[in-house]
Subunit: 383 residues, 2 copies
């Protein structure tokens, strides 16, 4: 269903030859309206790819007619020439649609530092425009894959409207690695300012709480486009709930497909003095290579949890922290608790619960284990 | 030579049975004076092991008669009972030396969260006291090893005085993993306040600039003891230079022995607006798992350098950053520079130079590559 589940959207995914293996590498998503309201959230990395610089500018207008995405090259660290390539790509889409380039967002993913082969890309964009259809959502989702082993799509049905989405990323957010791209569509009729609020709220509790390798990409982009084709304006909070569900579903798919991962680890921080404290603690634990190795080895090494908690500025007293792994409270009051032999770490899903005993707040951060396969995949990526 | 190279020190290393493999596991270093001036630097982790809590208190007095160190258990996250174990260990040393426990520092390293077997440890301390000698420095250095594959010792000769040292840690500082312990001795005659200044200055440019896995230990301790036995008080700056050399030498040994590492990576940040900016950038790059995997795969992936630089708050403009790997400027002005095929990444030593073009300052941070062996070693450590 993907981005074409809601009314008013067409999409396509084609092979332009940017990737060596002959797979699809250009996706196009077009909003046929009647509305073009849109919002975007971008990487916080200060080194931003040309398409991010371009699309941020487009989104300031709050209107998007089309999004063109390519895999096979990130167009990051490519200087003014790379920015011109992004501009030319948007102009090409605008020309094909008879519209304005100022309302065409561009996303790219792949290796950093290499120019895109425009002689292949522009004909690919033309081919994609020729194949736009109401059934094109799956092909578009397929075309944005890099090291992703599966396409990632989601949709939710609201009261008289739909929300659909596609994403790529296999390894991720801080916001993260190898680039995470996501396009979400809805046929609800909602102004751009409200879309912006909804998208930021949804991303802050989904993609922003996924941290598989602590690496932040130059290209991360999440877009939300509304066609208004259903004529329905959801009740306040209703659209946010649906968009959050789609984001959470896609985030889960990214997590499960993270490079080399064999475990999906949920780090639940409870009893914190604030939600920000809980997120800080969850993220510190999610970034501990030592802990991620231990979980890979099915070793309930709670000492590595505590030593990561201790690197944060969160409010807590070391001798009041409790830690459970898969429900067994193996650390109580900052020291050994229940028998660690009772912890069953064989399932793929692992939950680490950290009770800071410092307040009523909580948050969950998701990560993966660190494996030899991750090392292998990322040692061999560009060569 | 180790910690007994300077006059006034005796040491021993014995087997108490704390480790399973029958290796030495208790070290004792005694300062016979005439001075007992001392200084210490400890982990910044908020979760601190019992011996760190104890030794910090001892060092506030600026005097240390002896340091007792054990491998085979970190005595971290062991609650009040663990603190009593540390206290009892110091009391035992004091009793054996006919001295005050308030001037006995304690260091522990090994697994977090388990009580030390005091029935084995205290007889080991007694045995160590019985074997104290002017030749004991090497045995002491051997006794503090955990996953270290070699003993780490160093010494430098000053004008009429000596500086010696031993360290353990195989993976490291943020300050870091698996615990880094270091004892430095000198027979120079220097008051405690000056030792404190010297040690902080030396650590800040050596151990603090080593970051192999971003993980900060609960037990890291660096001690500097002065016996005054040479009767020499070095000229200002002279002792700092020698202590810094010993720290740098030991830091290098830690780096080369880091768990699973096949590359020693120096991240030289130049052209920064401040030294702090240079350290922040160096550390961010040192913590990029993606970059560390790329270097392991001998892939000069400068895009991963730039994306790590972009996560910092340092002053720089993305389009003015230059990056060289092993002397080849493959990124100029934030975009592709010289041919990446010219970069030879086969040597063990790798230098990544990052020119921020933002000022006259610089700093170098040292790290290692990320390998499947690191994952293996840390998946299997406690089980």
């Amino acid at each position: 269903m993907s981005v074409t589940a809601p009314l008013g959207f067409r999409a396509a995914g084609v092979t332009a030859g940017l990737k060596q293996r002959g797979a699809r590498d250009i996706a196009l998503v077009v909003n046929d309206g009647p509305s073009r309201a849109a919002a975007g959230v971008f990487t916080r990395n200060r080194v931003q790819a040309a398409p991010v610089l371009w699309s941020r500018q487009v989104l300031t207008g709050g209107r998007v007619r089309a999004v063109v995405l390519n895999s096979g090259g990130a167009n990051a660290c490519t200087g003014p020439a790379g920015f011109q390539d992004t501009h030319a790509t948007a102009e090409k889409v605008a020309e094909l649609l008879g519209d304005s380039a100022g309302e065409v967002a561009v996303c790219s993913t792949g290796l950093i530092g290499e120019r895109l082969p425009m002689d292949l890309l522009l004909p690919g964009v033309e081919a994609a425009a020729g194949q736009l259809s109401r059934d094109g959502g799956l092909a578009a989702a397929d075309a944005i894959r890099t090291t992703d082993t599966v396409t990632k799509i989601s949709f939710r049905r609201g009261e008289g409207y739909m929300v659909g989405g596609m994403a790529k990323g296999a390894g991720m957010l801080a916001p993260g690695m190898a680039t995470m791209l996501c396009v979400i569509t809805t046929d609800a009729d909602v102004p751009a300012a409200e879309l912006d609020r909804v998208l930021r709220a949804a991303v802050s509790v989904t993609f922003d709480r996924l941290d598989t390798d602590g690496c932040m990409s130059t290209n991360d982009t999440v877009l939300l486009l509304a066609s208004g084709a259903s004529g329905v304006t959801p009740a306040p909070g209703e659209l946010e709930r649906k968009v959050t569900e789609v984001c959470a579903d896609l985030a889960r798919q990214l997590l499960v497909d993270a490079e080399g991962a064999t475990k999906a680890i949920a780090i639940e921080v409870v009893g914190s003095a604030s939600e920000a404290d809980a997120v800080e603690v969850g993220r510190a634990v999610a970034r501990s290579n030592l802990l991620k190795c231990a979980i890979h080895g099915e070793d309930p090494n709670w000492g590595r949890v505590l030593s990561a908690v201790g690197t944060t500025g969160a409010a807590f007293e070391p001798d009041r922290v409790n830690v459970a792994i898969n429900g067994i409270w193996i650390c109580r009051g900052g020291a050994a608790g229940d028998d660690r032999a009772k912890v069953d770490l064989r399932p793929r899903d692992v939950t680490i619960t950290i009770d800071l005993s410092a307040g009523p707040h909580s948050a969950t951060v998701h990560t993966t284990d660190l494996t030899a396969e991750y090392v292998h995949e990322n040692s061999a990526y560009s060569t």
